[in-house]
Symmetry: D2
Subunit: 357 residues, 4 copies
Amino acid sequence: MAGSSYGTLFRITTFGESHGSAIGGIVDGFPPGFELDFEFIQQELDRRKPGQSRIVSQRKESDRVQFLSGIFEGKTTGTPIGFLIPNEDAKSADYSHLEQGFRPSHADYTYQQKYGHRDHRGGGRSSARETATRVVAGALAKLYLHSHGIKIQAFTDQVGAIRLPESLIETLDWSDSESNAVRCPDPGYAAAMEQRILEVRKLGDTIGGCVRCRVTGVPAGLGEPVFDKLHAELGKAMLSINAAKGFEIGSGFEGVAQLGSQHNDIFNPDGTTQTNNSGGIQGGISNGMPIHFRTAFKPVATILQDQESINTAGEIITLGGKGRHDPCVVPRAVPIVEAMTAIVLLDFLLRNQTFKS
Amino acid sequence: MAGSSYGTLFRITTFGESHGSAIGGIVDGFPPGFELDFEFIQQELDRRKPGQSRIVSQRKESDRVQFLSGIFEGKTTGTPIGFLIPNEDAKSADYSHLEQGFRPSHADYTYQQKYGHRDHRGGGRSSARETATRVVAGALAKLYLHSHGIKIQAFTDQVGAIRLPESLIETLDWSDSESNAVRCPDPGYAAAMEQRILEVRKLGDTIGGCVRCRVTGVPAGLGEPVFDKLHAELGKAMLSINAAKGFEIGSGFEGVAQLGSQHNDIFNPDGTTQTNNSGGIQGGISNGMPIHFRTAFKPVATILQDQESINTAGEIITLGGKGRHDPCVVPRAVPIVEAMTAIVLLDFLLRNQTFKS
Amino acid sequence: MAGSSYGTLFRITTFGESHGSAIGGIVDGFPPGFELDFEFIQQELDRRKPGQSRIVSQRKESDRVQFLSGIFEGKTTGTPIGFLIPNEDAKSADYSHLEQGFRPSHADYTYQQKYGHRDHRGGGRSSARETATRVVAGALAKLYLHSHGIKIQAFTDQVGAIRLPESLIETLDWSDSESNAVRCPDPGYAAAMEQRILEVRKLGDTIGGCVRCRVTGVPAGLGEPVFDKLHAELGKAMLSINAAKGFEIGSGFEGVAQLGSQHNDIFNPDGTTQTNNSGGIQGGISNGMPIHFRTAFKPVATILQDQESINTAGEIITLGGKGRHDPCVVPRAVPIVEAMTAIVLLDFLLRNQTFKS
Amino acid sequence: MAGSSYGTLFRITTFGESHGSAIGGIVDGFPPGFELDFEFIQQELDRRKPGQSRIVSQRKESDRVQFLSGIFEGKTTGTPIGFLIPNEDAKSADYSHLEQGFRPSHADYTYQQKYGHRDHRGGGRSSARETATRVVAGALAKLYLHSHGIKIQAFTDQVGAIRLPESLIETLDWSDSESNAVRCPDPGYAAAMEQRILEVRKLGDTIGGCVRCRVTGVPAGLGEPVFDKLHAELGKAMLSINAAKGFEIGSGFEGVAQLGSQHNDIFNPDGTTQTNNSGGIQGGISNGMPIHFRTAFKPVATILQDQESINTAGEIITLGGKGRHDPCVVPRAVPIVEAMTAIVLLDFLLRNQTFKS
């Protein structure tokens, strides 16, 4: 019970189903006296919303956030920031066929098992619509981190089997990643990825991919061993995003084949390191180098093909593919990855602010 | 601050440095009236301890756990279980050369940055010695889970580039994994992995690898969306283990290349699924299928070769390779992975025990 | 930071200032499948709202709660219940004189010191308006507790120096307490208390009082020693209500003058006790007897008299008494005391639902 | 479950029964680099231990604390501080008569109801022996607070009906409170209180009392509304101490009879107040004035007289008065009140250390 809060000192709590009247949340612990850039917050929401390009869901949601508290004369007051995003295009009728049926690899079955009574419309609470509230909280956190020189940037580095080579990554201008629908900073790879997504959509199918995230300007010292290590919390935060199946920091899964003598990051005299296999975190604490990690997202479970499944009575049924869904979740996951990263970092930044005796 | 506790209803808190007088912990929230098998607990500790085979550290620690509270007449009382493991073979002199120097890819530098004052001997709090306390807490959790039909089994599925093929895994007798030093259930792969570790040790070097874990008998319904999803907490728990760099659940990173129509797990009439790409968790909640995931461990940072590094004054120094360390952490990580899995699952089991109205 | 959440498994998080557009909250961890009585919830809000009688503030707020999530077809789904109460009668102009001045014994000064930037209108976040959100969450909890036979009833037992004698309390019909504006179940005392409040109001002054609360039907076993003792959490919850200055359980402050031989509650063969000086809680755990405790509320700080004070520049100013406030907070505190009691009890009820091995 | 931890950033977790081999705890989140005064810590323990005067229990415990981690070269390292206090004088045989019987107004019955299986010896976990671990953690917190100019002093202000008049309190030299066994700073009242305790002891009976606590040097700004108000947490902490039945801050229960115009604390130009009915806390946040509060302790339940009671079979039995217990818990409660106060304040001090933007 009670799994809809995240964070210790900077804490977000969210509510809302895809087909209720609104979703929203409460951001508690945001530092006071901070002037908010509301346009930026809305832009972040727009980066996540459906309908923004031809490779994402065509569901229409204007996703306008309304702030209800915690802000006075444009500045934060240190008290909780309540906010709402009304649900507009909730066509409940679209989902009546799901009242009794469990969609494969969705949360329909597990919510039914856990709660007994559930809102079957559009996935209810398990819908990715919930992540819009994370983007709002994350945008607030980002603004604060920006003012302390911390910059978070994510991009698509894999769609299906098409993966941006490691060697290319250091040479990229990451700011290009917003210039295309797939959110990959390399134009050639971006085109290939977009092509693949369109092919898959034509099949009525879906495909997975990975998001890479890099954070610069992080001071050394963030993270609270032994359990609340910085990369452990980042991992939890990423894995809590819908459709996430994997997380790796620094050298990750591929680094296991290296020898220690290759993998070790040798120090420069100023405390920076010559390589960054550690991904900016050592012993669970940031070391001042850029933090970088990858998150894997499975192919979206909703497909536009008929699938065999079962209903609540355990009878075999055929589910027809309907609805307006994403052929690939990854482009829209980019701002969500950034948002959760910002939320984790701000919490650790505040947890690290202890007296030095 | 305060990162040494884990869990909500079943909560472990640990203390201790590698070279202090003892390490230990407090297990709070263990159900009352449960008869403990102390021999099993000690066996679990023995699976983790150094010196058990020629491919692990030769440091000598008998690792005898002493229980101080929470147990009466052999049964738990529901009150906190305090326990100690004395440190025996702490040769502090071995580490005097590290007082001023930062070992590459260790936590020396980040602890110095965060805390200012640190116990440099053997890594202090950041030493993997700390994980012995997790094994004790995990053994308690395992015993309870066993009595509810939940079984956790981990094994080594990759050392360096040698990886057990996915196709083999279903055919293995996992109980064989304890029959060899490397803890891989396939005798052929086990021999190759052990050979590789010995080669690497001869070079004075180290190598990484992966641990796979499978849990059977988990009831549907565990996990607390939207942030405390079951696989998100498992990910955090695994990533909090020393040297862990990656986590994947079910199809993980490789699943991203699949199409949704391939990846979706089709239901059988009884609610089980024909495939298990979900890894036993859908929407963050267990679905009753076996849970399976992998954790990546980097090559150990301590090598027996000279390395260039810096000291606290920012001067370049040469660190000579000394000490008694593991050429590959993976075999000893197997029981730690199991322990953290047990801790996470017991907490969720208790969190799920709400009234049904 | 982040002090606007309460509870572990049943957790409420609130937001909102007295003069923003709305206040509201999120109730997380409410058990699923429970049919809600919305009329009851509104009645509870009506018991707290201003303007309900001549002895309370005449501020007009219809206080209509809107539920936004977590409820489907009239039943809870186990997912977070988001709700809003719009602010209607927020006359910000009334408070312009407070922008620079600190009202004595209000939170103006301390919020300024803590946060630097604050919403001065009507006390902002420190306004008792915030307690309306507690009443909503408490009403939900009450409904659930009712269905398990747990009944919470509070009443006014002291206004100024007029205190209902202990000897009378056992003979009262507590259900009478809602029959008068002051919420005291004894008609004679109620009349005297109301008279006293009207006198004080005529002086432009305010007065304090006490609320007594009794809970019946509580099963033995609730409470989590050694820190989360049931009466310790009840104390925290009561003291978190605006204007609360004291809490006592069972025999409380007066019991200290007794001898142990008088104070001890002798058992009956069925485990009930002949007296109840313990107040239904022993060793921090409910014993199955009725829980009873008292909470002291100071005289409201806002008075309709001129007071000397200081402004943000540290200059002495005269604050004129204005606004529409309560001469005595106690009658309206009664439903808030009940609400917080329900919130605490439901959380402990859920925390107690562990497997028995 | 899991109620043996207290605090958010500065967190203590304790374990231990009165008749096990040891009690102890883990202090997590103590700031690093702080030089500890071990003699002071032991002195604090000595203030709590039994056998220190003729008016307290004659049980013999040397109560020597052993620190096991988190300290290096005499200074804290920022990692968890584990500690032990061995139990020495645990005469289990003394309690064999309690295996089946429930002592009136003890926790025997409620622990049996909650946990089913319990350590009946000397109250087990519910014994006040547990508070020794709080004194150790509190002594650490005190040392840190001292270094920031925060001073905590408690004393006995009531034994039975003998209460130090409010008017005397401002004129006392509080440092005199340690000069007598009863820990009351007024020699005349101290003598009368001690006389009363001796009379009661002669009767084989016990008596209650109150402890007053005052904290000076607290900066404005501590406390986290709306639930984690400073006085609400202080109340919880005090009420979590064995035998505590009531808590009041500032004017407390007596203040309810005042008018607002009398009760309001008028500001001086420097932000201090002319009176301190608020007890140093307004709106849940410290205002920089001394914090003062009182805690009521009931008469100890263990008396040296025969009492009627029941056993686990529900049969009526006679319990003979045995054992070595305190006729009045208040003198030994003084250092415990101080310890819990220090723990609460250090946690809030750390929670308040956020960036100011």
